[in-house]
Amino acid sequence: MLSLLFDQGEPGRGSDFVAPAGKPEDYLSAGLLRAGLPLPDLAEFEVTRHFVALSHRNFSVDTNFYPLGSCTMKYNPKLNEAVAAFPGFADLHPYAPDDAAQGALEMMWTLERTLSSLFGMEAFSLMPCAGAHGEVTAMLMAKAYHRERGDEKRVTCIVPDTAHGTNPASAAMVGYKVVSIPSTPQGRTDIGALRAALDDTVAVCMMTNPNTLGLFEDDIVEMTKAVHDAGGLMYYDGANANAIVGLCRPGDMGFDLMHLNLHKTFSVPHGGGGPGAGPVGASARLAPYLPAPRVVKDAGGVFSLRASDAKSIGPVRVFASHFIALVRAYAYIIVHGAEGLRRNSELAVLNANYVRAKVKDILTVPYSDHCRHEFVCSAEVLKKETGARALDLAKGLLDAGIHAPTMYWPHVVPECLMIEPTETETKETLDEFVEVLRALVKQAHDDPASMQELPLHTYVRRVDEAQVGRLANKGIGLRWTGEK
């Protein structure tokens, strides 16, 4: 067990960082000053040992196969990290004048043009910080668009039941009523149900493609048309874009709005939960509503940040972008080119199908066609036969040094495991994964009770989530307090 920082250190430990500058009271009246500052004083060495030790308690892409569905845990090239640290990027202040930031602006401009071309959109805003931020940005744009047209009756947002939770949550944030559409037995959004839901209150329909079952929405063009006919807008959740880069384009499918997760498709590292970047693309009619500022290039090749367009919804964060994250995505793009990006998507699909073909012998794989970048399988039969659940398999994988797939989502598949290997894994690794899974299923049959004990070898074993939730509701157990 690793002590918390707050149980380490001694008052007075640590380096000097600045020359002595007196006391706070030399500069401010006492009434403005805080009573105490109860942070621990640690030697740098203690801090180093602490965080290196913490790092050893994590699974990560660089240490473990991480087939976490819907998250695109691909390898993050180290080139990205090196260029992101260039002082010419890191030390540039967001209010530096445009003429003193031409390199940064050129990069952003090129990135925007590149994404627009790759996804068939008129323009992108690089401002949103993550996928969900992109979604709500797009919802704000949709709302502004309809309002601008005086079409204020449009208050519903259509979302398939397989959609990621951020979709309905983002729609709700701008006050949209969420209408959920069921999936067909083929794992696609039910176009009949969609049509039935369409009326003149529909503001926007959010589609994820490939959807979270890893399947291409075959009726996507028809659905787009139907929604458009009803006066609604089509939104493309591009979190799964790793299946389609260079192969097809949401713009060509008729979408008005979309977001990308640069931290999935474009190799920005996930960082243990962020930061990401969630650029929002827009078709010609929606582009004027994109957040401001955006980068423009004048006839002389000079770049600048244009503060605002008349129709823009305004800014969705204070500064123009998660710039340093964009640098990483840009680096990824320029070493690949359009062809390399397309090949990565093809190989992502290849890897997923390869695992799927092999897993078919082990677990139920519910849909019959080839998948795209990921697929779901179900442990329902296994559960019936042995009592072992998807959860148990997931925990068992951890013992083998493999991160668990996404579990119990989408909800339409019982005892669901969603597996996304990504293109950067070798065949050797995939083969090994399948064998580990096979062995776990065998273990479930041979010794079902043992499955609930898994994992055995991780730093901690299964944790008590119930108790912590009860206390947390009262604001307890969410921070160190010094009490034992």
């Binding site: 805080r34 960082g271 964060r317 939730g469």
Partner: protein, 453 residues
């Protein structure tokens, strides 16, 4: 090319799959194939990509100038231990710690971050981070509005105008009314004025920033008293987190919610991001907090463990009823800040914050000694202040830029009634040599500019 597949690999795998070719396996439904070539530059070999990015970085002369820019992004010393530790593979290439058994490193670090936020703000609970200070403001407004059931908030015009613009964007979409409290004489809000009192009536939140956008320390306690009497929550926005090293805590001032930006703690200015938003509140609002929360628990063997908790508030469980739509947050940036705070400690943070005040006062005195420059406010401040120039601030900034100085932020961009006002910032990295060189050049430029008129 980062994918490892050789042609042989591909063939063998296609055989197992039973697909004739890679192209056919991955092809979109008929009719959706891309027809025109992409407008994307051809692939660069890695050494040329590196050189290309080095050229772009080099083309940002602003990154090398002596800078007095603050206004929401602060250049502070980053102890090298911070990036060294935070950028370890196991931190940067992990996902959100949903699998507790495989993520105790990230989880404990977030728990420590939550604790730091509480210790710094004096409040009870805090979450795992938000995108940045400006979106944290939006989340705080949503919390307050839900807590009070009121669709109207009152915000000081001394709050960062960029933050207010973001709030406006969202508020329009969310149907929340935002009223603004006027800038008082001393570039802060007069909480005792009748006008302010009227504006606050019926609001769900009273929102002040301290130190405010002009650098001045606001009367947060006054705002809290006013809010309380109006049945509103008090939200203190903190943009320059370094000030927390010395200033009264939001809790001490009576704030219900503190939120803002912690970029100052170990993160580079990086042309605007990623930074790290924080939010903290009193216990009773815990279930309204947006985003992830880590709690302490134990495993089946009784070992202490950390885990994501109260997920029932979150989008992936609660969907359209979630307290926020946030999913990916700023975990790695929060880790930077956590390691920063661990490294500097109370002792370091207080001394660095004090050095900021010292340098800001030295800068202000030196700048005010330049003929033609006048003060804008005599309010107490942390490390930023406003001065008035004898010519439009924009012109002066342009002249100083030619001499490789970023003199400050032109306030007329947001406050048209302040055409000659310059917002300046000094930090512990502002050296006396910088100040001397700058004020020397400033005197010359002002002289020349006035002579030219």
């Amino acid at each position: 090319m980062h994918a490892p597949h050789t042609d042989r690999d591909v063939r063998e795998m296609l055989d197992v799959i039973g697909a004739p070719s890679l192209a056919s396996l991955a092809a979109p439904p008929k009719g959706l194939e891309v027809k025109t070539p992409f407008d994307v530059a051809p692939a660069l070999p890695e050494s040329l990509a590196f050189a290309h990015l080095a050229r772009l970085a080099g083309a940002n002369s602003g990154a090398r100038m002596t800078s007095f820019l603050g206004a929401g992004a602060y250049r502070h010393y980053q102890p090298p231990a911070v990036p060294y530790l935070a950028t370890r593979s196991e931190f940067i290439t992990a996902y959100t710690p949903y699998q507790a058994e495989a993520s105790q490193g990230s989880l404990q670090a977030i728990f420590e971050w939550q604790t730091y936020v509480c210790l710094l703000t004096g409040l009870d609970v805090s979450n795992a981070s938000l995108y940045d200070g400006s979106t944290a403001l939006v989340e705080g407004v949503i919390m307050a509005s839900q807590a009070t059931g009121r669709r109207r908030v009152a915000i000081s015009r001394c709050v960062h105008p960029g933050y207010r613009a973001v709030l406006d964007t969202y508020a329009r979409g969310m149907g929340i009314e935002v009223v603004e409290l006027p800038v008082g004489a001393d570039l802060s809000v007069d909480m005792k004025s009748a006008a302010v009192k009227d504006l606050v009536a019926g609001a769900g939140a009273v929102i002040v920033q301290s130190p405010n956008f002009f650098g001045c320390i606001e009367d947060v306690a006054g705002a809290a008293a006013l809010a309380k009497s109006a049945g509103a929550l008090t939200i203190q926005v903190i943009v320059e987190a370094m000030s927390l090293g010395v200033l009264k805590t939001p809790a001490e001032s009576g704030a219900d919610i503190a939120l803002g930006e912690m970029q100052s703690f170990g993160l580079p200015v990086g042309y605007g991001g990623p930074y790290v938003g924080f939010i903290a509140c009193t216990k009773e609002h815990v279930r309204r907090l947006p985003g992830r929360l880590v709690g302490e628990t134990h495993d089946v063997d009784g070992r202490r463990a950390f885990v994501l908790t109260l997920q029932g508030r979150e989008q992936h469980i609660r969907r359209e009823l979630a307290s926020s739509n946030i999913c990916t947050n700023q975990a790695l940036c929060a880790l930077f800040a956590t390691i920063y705070l661990a490294t500097v400690g109370a002792h370091g943070l207080r001394s660095i914050a004090t050095a900021n005040m010292e340098r800001a006062r030295e800068l202000r005195a030196a700048v005010l000694a330049v003929p033609g420059i006048r003060p804008s406010s005599e309010a107490q401040y942390f490390n930023e202040f406003v001065v008035k120039a004898p010519l439009p601030a924009a012109l002066l900034i342009e002249r100083m830029e030619r001499r490789n100085f970023l003199a400050g932020v032109d306030l007329s961009r947001w406050y048209p009634d302040m055409p000659d006002a310059l917002l300046m910032c000094a930090t512990e990295l502002t050296s006396r040599e910088d100040i001397a060189a700058f004020t020397g050049a400033l005197a010359t430029e002002i002289n020349d500019a006035l002579a030219a008129v």
